[in-house]
Symmetry: C2
Subunit: 340 residues, 2 copies
């Protein structure tokens, strides 16, 4: 598994100029170690980068094993479906799932990977802020445990579980074009990440199939929160030629967009057509209900856990595997024909 060469207790003993038994007494907080001796041994450990192999020990003692899941953020309600299902599959197999948030920062992703390695976490599933980031890629290569990517598709040496966001965006855009809309605004997240990039691709694909060139002023990227969506919606509707349809493709930002429309006295459906990039209670129970893209997050969680379990068992699998769950469009009252 390409684990880096480990420093042994006897290396520490040699470096510190003490007996092996002394090192192990320091390691075990033995009360009879003098502070001087302790300091000498600790310096040697720090210098050599000594690490105790916790997993080997915990496995032998039949202790529960760990899988870590590191995601951008915890405030995407539907993502709980992924976690819940992955957790159930892993628990069944004797693993505890721990979550950590990366807040979408590469340095935290790298720090977590290293912390997981040091604590001998058995497997990791995670999102990445930027799959092209050189240091992140290096940290992934240095990981001694299997890593599976969640909704990222750029590193083909790793297992990946994604949703077919491109197809979802293509369906949504084709639907709006079919209703006669041409000034379609798109709110999308971080284009460095796979989901937003694929959504934009699907949007462009549908436009070009209809012989239409999307207006660059109607595209807003880096919409990452409800507040971002609020601001983007206000500024779009203030244009001299405002959009007639809003494709709110960024995850979990529909609330911000609807709040902005309400503030401006514009009715979703009547005044402007609205499509949500992901379904929610809000989309379903809004008046009118909001047309939305949906996919099976529980299935994604199940696939991710199952694929990671296969890797942790050491099954012989050649290369990284990519699995994409399909997306569907649920057409509701918020998308209407453009009045002619």
């Amino acid at each position: 598994m390409g684990r880096p060469q480990t420093v042994k207790v006897r290396d520490v003993a040699r470096e510190a100029g003490v007996a092996v038994g002394t090192v192990s007494r320091v390691l075990n907080d033995h009360p009879r170690v003098t502070p001087e001796l302790r300091e000498r041994v600790e310096k040697a450990m720090a210098h050599l980068g000594y690490e105790v192999d916790v997993t080997a020990q915990s496995m032998r003692a039949g202790r529960s094993r760990l899988v870590a899941c590191a995601i951008r953020d915890f405030d995407i309600p539907r993502f709980a479906l992924f976690i819940k299902e992955a957790e159930a599959v892993l628990r069944e197999a004797g693993y505890t799932l721990l979550l950590a948030s990366t807040t979408n920062r590469a340095d935290i992703e790298i720090g977590l990977l290293s912390a997981f390695r040091r604590r001998r976490v058995d497997g990791v599933m995670m999102t990445l802020s930027d799959e092209q980031h050189r240091d992140v890629r290096e940290a992934l290569s240095a990981a001694s445990m299997p890593v599976l990517l969640i909704d990222r598709d750029g590193i083909t040496t790793l297992d990946r579980v994604t949703a077919d966001h491109r197809e979802g965006a293509r369906l949504a855009t084709t639907h709006l074009l079919g209703l006669g809309h041409r000034r379609i605004a798109m709110l999308v997240g971080d284009l460095k990440a796979f989901p937003s990039r694929s959504r934009l691709e699907g949007f462009r694909e549908a436009c070009s199939a209809a012989g239409m060139v999307p207006h660059p002023r109607l595209l807003r990227d880096n919409v990452l929160s409800g507040e971002d969506a609020y601001r983007a919606t206000v500024s779009l509707m203030a244009l001299a030629e405002p959009p007639t349809a809003l494709f709110v493709a960024a995850m979990d930002t529909l609330g911000g967009c609807l709040r902005a429309l309400r503030t401006m006295g514009i009715a979703a459906g009547d005044g402007i057509s609205v499509v949500a990039g992901s379904d929610s209670d809000l989309a379903e129970l809004h008046a009118p209900p909001i047309t939305a893209i949906t996919w099976d997050l529980a299935a994604m969680g199940r696939h991710a856990a199952t694929m990671l379990l296969e890797r942790m068992r050491g099954d012989e699998i050649e290369g990284g595997r990519g699995l994409a769950v399909p997306t569907q469009l649920i057409i509701r009252g918020s998308t209407r024909p453009l009045p002619s």
Copy 2:
């Protein structure tokens, strides 16, 4: 800190009848240990319950420290505000926050506490399925790290951060009574847990202040999901004397209740008054908007992290501390006077 007496390497050596150096070679996966010797040492370790002190080592080497947060479930959207804020405070202090879900089961809570102890997690914040559960209480006493309770108030030897759910429920019920409602149905979660218990108390308090005895058939407890709320609402509205107001006090179950009303062709606000036990995008953007109880989850997260940091630093604090953030009622269009 009451850490249980730890087994030392020399105890293992004695039990296995080998030298201390041999134990440390086994611990460090030394290649020159024979399988027989390894087995003998491992048996001795298992027999004595030997545990390596990882924290002491990781702290010496200046490695990042861990706080674990174990909660019932990840699908409560507003709870992300708690996590986000707690995480920011902890990260600032050099800690990584890991999350685990208990799925509200005592055996999993106990297993996690033991896993956290073994992995030398520095501090824990958690919910509990049942504060009176004897084995859970035992596991809490055996924990060698500080544990803070999230929205639980029954174990006063521990630090607790709660919301004043009783006051929120009292305000909501008083508001409905003031509008003339008498047949008020209440949907509430697990009464073994502090939040649901306090909400019921607040409800009863308001009723008795108005000289009213709540009708037992209109109380539904153990409402834990949107599906539960859907079923409870359908069965309540099918009663010979259906309620004129619904107090959906269970966390994040408003969607299920509104879905049931829509299916039955009953309009929230017009046909029946509705109060949500916790605010959400759905409550705010629904037509009509739903009257809701709210409290500052970010403040709860900040307090929890700060109090836990004080404990982890070993500050001298006598006894467990309890901190309750206040609750407010946001009155919106879904609560209207009872037609006379």
